[in-house]
Symmetry: C3
């Protein structure tokens, strides 16, 4: 397990990069994350047809700001990349106040916040400004200076893979297309790479694990063009990691299928998490919209803490490194590792003495003096022996018995050591 300090250091390095659907920010982000998780990069050229979509041109920014008549700079991209709308066209020239205002976005009810605005598919130039800054703006003419470029480049996505004993795969996916925002951007990829690291340390892994970092929507569609068929054959469960910091309780949004292994394990892990929320699938969200489109219908759910759209800092400059704490991500990593632990340790066992109870006293598993109220451990032994019938897996046993998952694992190890149960390999 990594430390809050190391996580915060990584966050600070990723913070200033101008991520978008394409461009240098994505490239640099993948490079930094690659220091923790070895990443294979796939490149899709601008103009490539991807299902109903087309890969957009690559977009980069040199500088962007405007000056008032006194030469004071406003909305300077070099100070905060949110000042420029995503995929802004270049523009140079003098404009009237009225004309400028058609290109300025602000949030009157959050006067300190710079909003986050994009215009990926409609040609536009524009600035985002806090309402407090806007009110300070004097004068009637302004000099606009936006140096951006769009050209036939490429869209990048990153993937990692850890092979296990089984070909069945667990997928973790997050997105890398928002500029300087913290909870609704960096929390996902940062947890994902540290989760990779933790899983890479599991000896004799059962499942194979796949990790994806892609710009939202079009990036994920590119990934599905490449891997969709493979995932339809091998994916047991996938989880979109998003908004894993901030306050509040954890939530799990189920896959479109609703009754897949993904949903069952996600629900099981969440139900053991205090205050957690279980949410039915809906197609209004993030990349689950693509994974769970009807043609793919993959078993992919979402794990989140404070969900997009449900915290006031969302999609503004207030979703920053003051809002997202390293220790929150450590807590989220713990949760994700416990999810992986359930996948790794869940199994079907069968009792070797299935006719009647085994003679527990002989096996030193039972108090030798009658009329002692059975403790939790002995009760768990009796539940496990009774339900290890070659059909119930450990999740079922936990749910039916109400016994503690950790105690069940301990009991299973003990009974297995004593040859009282044996694992059923399908």
């Amino acid at each position: 397990m990594t430390s809050p300090e190391k996580i915060e250091e990584l966050l600070r390095r990723l913070w200033p990069l101008n991520r978008s659907l394409t461009g240098r920010g994505v490239q640099e982000t993948l490079k930094i994350l690659g220091e923790i998780m070895p990443i294979e990069i796939f490149s899709f050229p601008s103009g490539e047809q991807v299902f109903d979509w087309v890969v957009p041109k690559e977009w980069n920014v040199e500088k962007a700001y405007f000056e008032d008549c006194k030469g004071k700079r406003w909305a300077d991209y070099s100070r905060n990349n949110l000042h420029l709308i995503g995929y802004s066209e270049p523009f140079h020239g003098q404009v009237s106040r009225k004309e400028l205002m058609d290109h300025v976005f602000t949030l009157e009810d959050q006067p300190d916040a710079i909003p986050y605005v994009t215009s990926y598919y409609k040609k536009r130039w524009g600035f985002c400004l806090s309402y407090n800054d806007l009110r300070k703006l004097k004068g009637d003419t302004f000099n606009v200076n936006i140096s951006t470029s769009k050209f036939n480049g490429s869209l990048l996505i990153g993937e990692s893979f850890l092979k296990g004993r089984l070909d069945d795969e667990i997928l973790f996916s997050s997105y890398i297309c928002h500029p300087s925002m913290a909870n609704n951007e960096l929390s996902g990829p940062v947890c994902l790479v540290y989760l990779y690291y933790a899983i890479s340390k599991i000896k004799n892994r059962k499942y194979s694990y796949r990790f994806v970092l892609a710009p939202e929507t079009i990036g994920t569609l590119c990934y599905l063009k490449k891997r969709g068929e493979h995932l339809r054959s091998f994916l047991s469960a996938g989880y979109l990691l998003t908004c894993l910091g901030g306050g509040g309780d954890y939530g799990f949004k189920k896959s479109r299928k609703g009754d897949s292994v993904c949903d069952r394990v996600g629900e099981f892990v969440m139900c053991r998490q205090k205050g957690s929320e279980l949410k039915e699938f809906d197609p209004i969200g993030s990349d689950e919209r693509q994974y769970c489109s009807p043609g793919f219908n993959l078993p992919v759910g979402s794990i989140y803490k404070t969900l997009y759209g449900e915290f006031p800092e969302y999609h503004t400059s207030l979703d920053n490194l003051k809002f997202l704490k390293g220790e929150q991500l450590v807590e989220s990593l713990t949760l994700l590792e416990s999810l992986v632990d359930v996948f790794e340790k869940n199994a079907i066992w069968i009792s070797t003495n299935s006719f009647g109870e085994p003679f527990l006293t002989k096996h030193k598993l039972y108090p030798d003096k009658g009329t002692v109220k059975l403790d939790e451990f002995v009760s768990t032994i009796m539940w496990v022996l009774n339900l290890c019938d070659g059909e119930n897996d450990l999740i079922s046993i936990c749910q039916r018995s109400g016994c503690d998952w950790e105690v069940i694992l301990e009991v299973v190890n003990l009974l297995s050591d004593k040859d009282l149960i044996t694992e059923v390999i399908k």
Copy 2:
């Protein structure tokens, strides 16, 4: 849609007729209703065996009253046909007060109401009197004057049919055997004929529609003798229309099957109706007892507003045209038309871009500026596209998404126009 005034005019014409299992009142009722809905009449002769039953003799009334010693007429059938019990034998002669009282029915706890009493299958003569009238009765001898006739005639039922593209049929059924009562008699047939009229105007109807008007129980059994086998093959859903006026909320009583198309659509339409009640099937009611007898087990439910037996005016002279308003029946017609609309418009569609979302911006279905909270219409587009997988029908989509039915229909039209979804014909 017809007006409350036209409905009330029709009610006033039907009101005075002396309907019963047989006789001139039924004949005239079918004739008047036939002005709106072309009716084919089927005639069953008295004495015909119908399953375990026999068609009764035809019954007609000339006059009926009794006189006190001062020659004053009481319980005069010409003033209110409820005064004579249904299927009363003829009787002429002087009787003592005591003897008369054995033949008089009254309601002490509703002193203004004339009760409604029948004696179809046991020979009897008798009068119904309000308790207030009864108290005014003076003298010890009375002259009874009942001129009725029973003879081998026939029992009549009426049917209409509107052919659609499919052979699958929707049935609407109501009864025409109660004399001057309003909610528990006229509300059903009047809604039924105007519903016929509305459905006849639907262009290129999907379903075929069948409409039945029959005296309760024995009439419906006659109808099932004629059409039962056919309905077992072609009936998708049937609805008994009963007690559609009065105050209160709407209710839907499910068919015996409980999970048929009839139940699913009935429940779906009712759940969108504020304050509505959903009732499980029971065999204590009206003609659903025959439709849902175990041999037929047809998918026939009941739609009602203020149900028989649950309003104090039921089966008395107080269930009259003051109690039943034209605008209540207009409201009920609106509900029935929306039920038909669900049958006509529900369908299974499949997305033509099922791998990933379609590029909605390209199709002008999505805001071109990022970070705008999606409105209800765009959310509905995303739900519809996600769930149009060739398996979910629009009812399922509505129930799973929670989107509004009318908005879904609008979205389906739009997406269909843009060739983004296509209907699945089974």
Copy 3:
């Protein structure tokens, strides 16, 4: 039905016997119970392997007590057999107070109660004493005098069988291994033998009935060694009878299967019992642990009133004949007989007039005057006719209709007499 007085007389005779896993107490108990229910006795020799277990040596007690320095006897087995721990080793000699205390068990929070302690599988000697007695104990040395014997004898179990028309069997099982305790010992066997008597009087029984009395756990395992295969083929439902006296409401603990005939009927009977409790299966209890072990997985539930472990007198000298009343067991017998009645009378019937309702007036089953609110009996007739479709059994009809079970039975008899329904023999 027997009387509370006769039951209390039987309880008083069984009370003093020193029951344990083996020994004279079990032998004498079976002999006394055999006066009411003819019992076949099966004997299993000490040392016989039974699944993972071994039949223990036979244990008998001659005398047991200890004396203080003044020669006063304490913990005298001849006064209460709970004073000696079950399966105590013999021991004769002088011991210090400290040494004695290592062999004395007491209950500080129930100072009047002698606890019940056993040490079947670990060699030990020891006494049980009330805390109040313990406090009175003076002196520093004590003379211990325990004359017990263990030898290669046998373990006894008793069985009875009543053949019915079907080979399908209903099992009732209880245990006979606790010394002088009442609710958690005698209540079960005493109800079982009187239930045998009641069932033996049923003429032309449908089911076959089997009755078992065995020492808990190892005794039941011996029984399953003998009969387990047979029960897997023929057992429809089994019920463990335990703790059927004391105060409180009745409870039914389901079998491991949870949806067997045993569970369905047990639940049905209990739901008609006011205040009753329905409990899911768990493997922490009595002999259901063996019947419901995964290899056998027999449909065996438990019927109880005040359950083991849930009343303060449990496993102490306070669970005595003051706590257990004859009338409580009469009430429990009534419940058990009603369970048997459901098994005997539940059946599938089919209406002989399934197309439409039968003409009830003709069959004198319906009021001959219209507009009379139907009473419970006529409603039940209509429900039974509607649901007798050759698929629903009477339990289903009772559950779906909400009609009273006894009224349903009455209606079924009447309709059967009139040839309106006929029984379906599978």
